[in-house]
């Protein structure tokens, strides 16, 4: 009996195999590539406006909804569904569909090139219009994996979270369990409305008011409950007002503020229940010296949690995010 207790349940190798199957590592595209993420991580993408935060979410969405391979062509996607809660009410689906089409075309092109290199016969057995139908089928499949809703105030946000479990249950019964990625665009969207209107008298002392604090005291447990039942990676963007600490004398003399990169401060306004819920945090902002690379604005990305002392630079191209080396 005692011996059985000492012999382990499984070896380390077996445990690693099991964990990686149940909670696979997700390698996300740039600039989130430095840290491997797992479902049930809560990642906060913080930055002033504009700093490509929504663009990052869209690129992650494209990588998630693409399949790993389709009809023999490698697309390198994660084949996960994406749930996009738009609190900013500003998403234009055209950008997502455009990037998706470009990625599909690019992958097809690379596939043809590798086939040629390997000496396979590239003369098209498949007629041109059939290829187009296949591409359309793939595009349709991918777009169906992207679910979107917008919330015009915190009540709609809370309502959406409360009934999300039923929606996911229904989908699971139809399609089988899949991993989801929950994206919230601008978790701080209703900060001013909640702050401005929370001091209105409620009448009854038992009633909870609708301050940001009490809204998030409900949002965080709802998301935690969802995560217990449905494995999800949560990516939330947060707009902040970023103040770079620059000294008056440096602007008067016109010297470039190279000392201030990464040393600016931003005001944290989210309630502590949300702050402690977040497991990872990355800061993105436009580059301080307003440099342009090929006529496009440069952005900087820096992981704050876990703190890596590295800053990655990237630009937003037509097809997606490009790291400048």
């Amino acid at each position: 009996m005692a011996k059985r207790w000492i012999n382990g349940d499984e070896s380390a190798k077996q445990m690693l195999g099991r964990v990686l199957k149940e909670r696979p590592l997700l390698l996300l595209p740039h600039p989130l590539h430095r840290i491997p993420l797992v479902v049930s991580n809560i990642v906060e993408i913080v930055g002033p406006s504009p700093s490509a935060k929504t663009e990052i979410l869209l690129q992650v969405a494209v990588s998630c909804i693409l399949p790993k391979s389709w009809n023999g062509v490698q697309y390198g996607g994660l084949e996960h569904s994406v749930l996009f809660l738009d609190l900013d009410c500003r998403l234009d689906i055209f950008r997502l569909s455009h990037c998706l089409k470009l990625r599909i075309t690019e992958a097809n092109r690379l596939h043809k090139i590798t086939k040629k290199q390997k000496g396979f016969d590239v003369s098209n057995h498949i007629p041109e219009h059939q290829c187009k139908y296949d591409d359309m089928d793939l595009f349709t499949e991918c777009m169906k994996r992207f679910s979107y809703t917008r919330c015009y105030d915190s009540f709609e946000f809370l309502a959406a979270l409360k009934v999300l479990h039923h929606k996911l249950e229904k989908e699971r019964n139809m399609d089988g369990s899949g991993v989801h990625v929950l994206m919230i665009d601008n978790i701080g969207a209703f900060y001013w409305i909640n702050r401005g209107f929370s001091s209105l008298p409620q009448g009854n002392p038992n009633r909870k008011n609708f301050s940001l604090q009490s809204v998030f005291e409900t949002v965080v447990p709802e998301i935690k409950k969802l995560l217990l039942l449905h494995p999800m990676l949560v990516l939330a963007t947060k707009m902040v007002t970023y103040q770079v600490k620059s000294s008056y004398s440096s602007w008067v003399s016109g010297v470039a503020s190279e000392v201030n990169i990464g040393k600016g401060t931003y005001r944290e306004y989210m309630p502590s229940i949300w702050q402690s819920f977040v497991t990872h945090r990355i800061l993105v902002r436009a580059s301080d010296d307003k440099r342009k690379l090929q006529d496009r604005v440069c952005y900087l990305a820096e992981w704050l949690l876990p703190a890596l002392n590295l800053t990655d630079e990237f630009v937003v191209g037509d097809a997606g995010i490009l790291m400048s080396l």
Binding site: C89, I93, S147, F155, A160, F190, R195, G196, F197, R296
Partner: protein
Amino acid sequence: MGALKSLKQEYAIIDSIFLQFCASHGIFSVEDFLVHDVYMLVASTEQLANSDRLKQGINQILSIIETYHQPWMNGLVLLEDREQNKHCLSTGCESFDMLLQGGLHEGHVTELVGPSSSGKTQVCFQFASNVAMKLGGVVFLDSGNSFSPTRMQQIVTHISGSAENKINGILQQAMRNIECHAVFDVYALLNVLHQQKLKLKSQTGYQVRLIIVDSISSLIAPILGGSNAHGHALMVSVGYLLKELADRHNIAVVVTNHMVGGEGGTLKPALGESWKNIPHVRLQLSQDHARNVYAVQILRHPYMASGRNANFMIP
């Protein structure tokens, strides 16, 4: 949504016992229900006598909540809606149309930013005339008494290119399509916008294609600042109301904003950082006085790179 009491008539399960149970937890309206933990409420019914009925009541409220938020749509449905319902409104100015790849997009809130006399109001008149003549209804919310029917007449004449005697019919039609409201404070603005919302929901024939607010900054700038957050809260509420009108009813919204001094003496758009997140498209106007030519530059766009610019002239 509203008070639970008002649901009594529609749903038999929401009776006075249920209302009493809710009141004991401080829940008087459906909104209150949202900030409470459903599982805890269900658990608290266990000790009471008619727990089954109470649980059914809670389920009923949850199904009401399900209809409350916007429905989930997948990417394909969104794309179809965009292609079929959200068209581009031609602005009447070729270079503007080319810059914006078709014109003002229905469903977008477009902000025109520029210093004084950079042509913002004139551009708004141009948009209003073109849309009123060719496409549909325009609602012009004027905060500075700048709306001028004479100027509109000049623009309509110029766009249509017809002879003097034939202009009357076209002009009458165009002017009939424009609804002009003078608003001098943010509450009047909210009032007018809410009325528009009601009209659009209830009247099927009423069709507005463009809403112009000239200028939104003069209505909002005076209430920002100070120790409380009401000013910012009102600004964000106006923003969301405009976005809702634009998206639900397929309307293009144009707002104008002025500029204030920023770091190092450069100008920046007014209304601060929190406003930046509200418009879909931000365009900066400027005037080259020497050549009498205006320039417009994209500051922000959902799918085009910022920095693209174009020149145009105002007739």
